[in-house]
C-alpha cells in the first residue's frame, strides 16, 4: 500500500496542478490577511475562500484524477494486491498531496501573520474538508463508469453542499418557524460538511455571540467545548462513511 501511495504522490507532484493550487492559496491568503489590519477579519475572508474553493477543487480534481488513473488501477489489480488496498492507497495519496497543498498554501501565511487558535481551527476545517471531498469523489468514481457523468456528479455534489443545501435549510426553517426547530436545525447541519466547517470556525471567533443571540440552545450547545467536539466528530463521520461505502462498492464492482 505504501508503495502505491508513494507512486500516486510522486505522480501528483510531477503533475504540477497541486503546486499551482498551493501557490494560488498562498497568494490569496497573504493578500487577504494583509489587506485588513484586523487579522480576525482576514481569517473570516479566508474562511469564505476555504468554504467555496476547497470543496469544489478537491472534489473536481479528485474525480478527474481517479478517472484518469483507471488504467493504472486496472494494471495494479492484475497483480496479487487486494482491491480495497489499491483504492485506499489511491485515496490516501491524493488526500496527502491535496491537504499538504492546503496546509502549506493557507497554513504558512496564517501561521506567520496571526498564529492563534482561530487560525488552527481554520486549518483544521480546511483539512477536514479536503479529506471529506476527496472521499466523496472516490465514492463518485466507484459509482459511475462514465467519466463525464462522474464529473457532472462531482460538480452537482459540490454545488449541493456549498449552496443548495443551505437554501433548502432556509426553506425548512422558514416553513417550520412556528415549531421548536432549534434542535432539528442543529441535527440537519450535520448532513452538510461545509456548514459544519463554517460553524466550527465561527465558534472560535467573537461573532459566535451573534448566533447565541438567536436562541438559547445555540448558545448552550455551540458556546461550549461540546459544540466543537460534536462538529469535528460529525466531520470525521463524513470522511469515514464515503470511504467505507466506496470500498464496499468497489469490492464487487465489475471493472
Amino acid at each position: 500500500m505504501k508503495t502505491i501511495m508513494k507512486y500516486v504522490v510522486a505522480d501528483l507532484i510531477r503533475n504540477k496542478v497541486i503546486v499551482v493550487y498551493a501557490i494560488i492559496l498562498a497568494v490569496l491568503s497573504f493578500s487577504l490577511l494583509s489587506i485588513d489590519e484586523n487579522p480576525a477579519k482576514g481569517l473570516l475572508s479566508l474562511l469564505n475562500v476555504t468554504l467555496l474553493f476547497v470543496p469544489l477543487i478537491s472534489i473536481l480534481f479528485a474525480t478527474i484524477y481517479y478517472f484518469n488513473s483507471i488504467e493504472f488501477i486496472e494494471l495494479l489489480l492484475a497483480q496479487p494486491v487486494r482491491r480495497n488496498k489499491v483504492l485506499l492507497a489511491e485515496y490516501a495519496g491524493l488526500t496527502i498531496s491535496l491537504s499538504l497543498a492546503y496546509l502549506l498554501g493557507v497554513g504558512l501565511p496564517v501561521m506567520i501573520i496571526s498564529p492563534n487558535l482561530a487560525a488552527i481551527t481554520l486549518l483544521l476545517s480546511g483539512f477536514l474538508l479536503t479529506l471529506i471531498f476527496t472521499a466523496i469523489a472516490l465514492l463518485i468514481f466507484v459509482l459511475f463508469k462514465d467519466k463525464t457523468k462522474g464529473i457532472g456528479a462531482a460538480i452537482a455534489a459540490a454545488m449541493f453542499f456549498t449552496l443548495l443545501f443551505d437554501g433548502l435549510l432556509l426553506i425548512f426553517i422558514y416553513s417550520f418557524n412556528e415549531y421548536p426547530i432549534d434542535k432539528a436545525v442543529l441535527g440537519i447541519t450535520a448532513f452538510n460538511p461545509v456548514d459544519l466547517a463554517r460553524i466550527l470556525m465561527l465558534l472560535q471567533l467573537d461573532v459566535a455571540v451573534l448566533m447565541g443571540y438567536s436562541g438559547a440552545l445555540f448558545k448552550k450547545f455551540l458556546g461550549t467545548g461540546t459544540g466543537s467536539v460534536y462538529v469535528v466528530i460529525c466531520m470525521l463521520f463524513w470522511v469515514l462513511l464515503p470511504l467505507l461505502l466506496s470500498v464496499r462498492v468497489f469490492r464487487k464492482k465489475d471493472l
Partner: protein, 411 residues
Amino acid sequence: MPRLIITILFIFFAYNGNAKTIVVRADKANAIKNALAYCTDGDTVSIEKGLYKEQDILVSKRITILGKDYPVIDGVKKGQLIVVVRDSVIISGLQLQNTGRSSMTDMAAIRLQNVKSVSVINNKLVNNTYGVYLQNSHYCLVYKNTIRADAQDELNSGNGIHAWKSTHLLLQSNNISGHRDGIYFEFVTDSRILNNTSTENIRYGLHFMFSHKDVYTRNSFINNGSGVAVMYSKQVEMYYNTFRHNWGDASYAILLKEIADSKIEHNLFDKNTVGIYMEGTSRIQVLYNEFVENGWAMRVQSSCDNNVFEKNNFLSNSFDVATNGTMMLNTFNNNYWDKYDGYDLDKNKVGDVPYYPVSMYSVVTERVPTAMILYRSFLTDIMNRVEKVMPSIVPDKLKDDNPLMKSLKLR
C-alpha cells in the same frame, strides 16, 4: 487702613477659632463615633491611618471628615458604614469596606439621607453592597471615588452609586467596577455624570429610569454584563461617551426604552453585540456617533418615531441596522456606511443612490432567529447581493438618501 486689616484678620481668626479639628486614632473602640458625639457644627474630624471596625456611623452635624492616608473603616459585614443626615457634610480620603448584606435595607458604605450640598470626595470603597447611596438628596457631589466590589449575582448585590429621588447631583471622575449596576438613577433630575468609568458590572454600567434632564458626558462603559439601560426618561443628553465591549447574548451598548426628546452625540460604540437598541423612543437625535465592529450597530424597533440619525460612521459592523417591521418613521440621512457601494457621479461627496442599511439576511433573522445558523454562509451573501440589486423584502422606507462617500472625522 492697617486698622481695617487687623479688624478683618481678627474677625477671621475669631471665626476660625470656633471650629476645632479633632484628631481620631484607632486606639479605642468606637473612636469615630465618640469623636462625632463630641464635635459641633463646622468642626473637622481628621482620622489617622488605621483600622476602625465601626458600623452605622451617624453624621448629624455639619462637619468635614478627612482621612489621612486612607484610614480603613471596616463594617465586618454588619450594617452600614456612614449615614449622613445633615447638610453640607464633606467626606474625603477614607477607605470604606465590607458593609453587611441584607434583604431588608440597602446596606451602603456612604448613605446620604434627605440632605443638601454634601460632598463625597476621593474615597476608596471596597467590597460594599452599595457604594454611595443618595436618597432624596440635592446638590450633592460625588467626585474621584474608586468603588470596587466583586458581585457574583444580581440578587445579592447592590449598585456602585445609587441615587433615588434626587436632583442636581454631580458625579464626576469616579471609577466603578464589579457591582450590580455601576451607576443607578431612579427619579433623579437635572444631574450631570461626567468622566466616570464603569466597568465589569454584572448588570448595567449605567441604569436609569424616570430620570429627566440629565447629562452624561465623557464616561466610559466597558465590559458590563448588559451595557447601559435608559428607560422612561425625557431630555437626556449623552455626549462623548465610550461604550466598549459589552459583548454577550443579551448585551447592548445602550438600551433605550420609552425615551423622548434626547440627544446622543459624539459617542463611540465599539465591539458591542448591539450598539443602540431602541424601543418606543421618540424625537431622539443620534448625531456624530461612531459605530465600529458591533454585531448590530442599531436595532430600531418599529415602535420608534421621529428619531433622526445623521452624520454617523458605521464601520465593520456585522449588521448595520435591524428592525422588526416594515414601518419606519425615522430619518436616516448623511451617514457614512462602509458597506455602501453606490457611486458619486457629480463628485459632491454624497452618494447618488440611496443606501438601505437593513440587509435582507438581517430581515430574515429578525423574522426567524433560527436562520442565524446560516450566518456567513454563501447563500446569505448571495441573498444580500440580489436584494441590493432589486430590493423587495427589506423595508424600503428605511434608507439613507444621502449616504456619504467618505467617513467622517469624528475623533
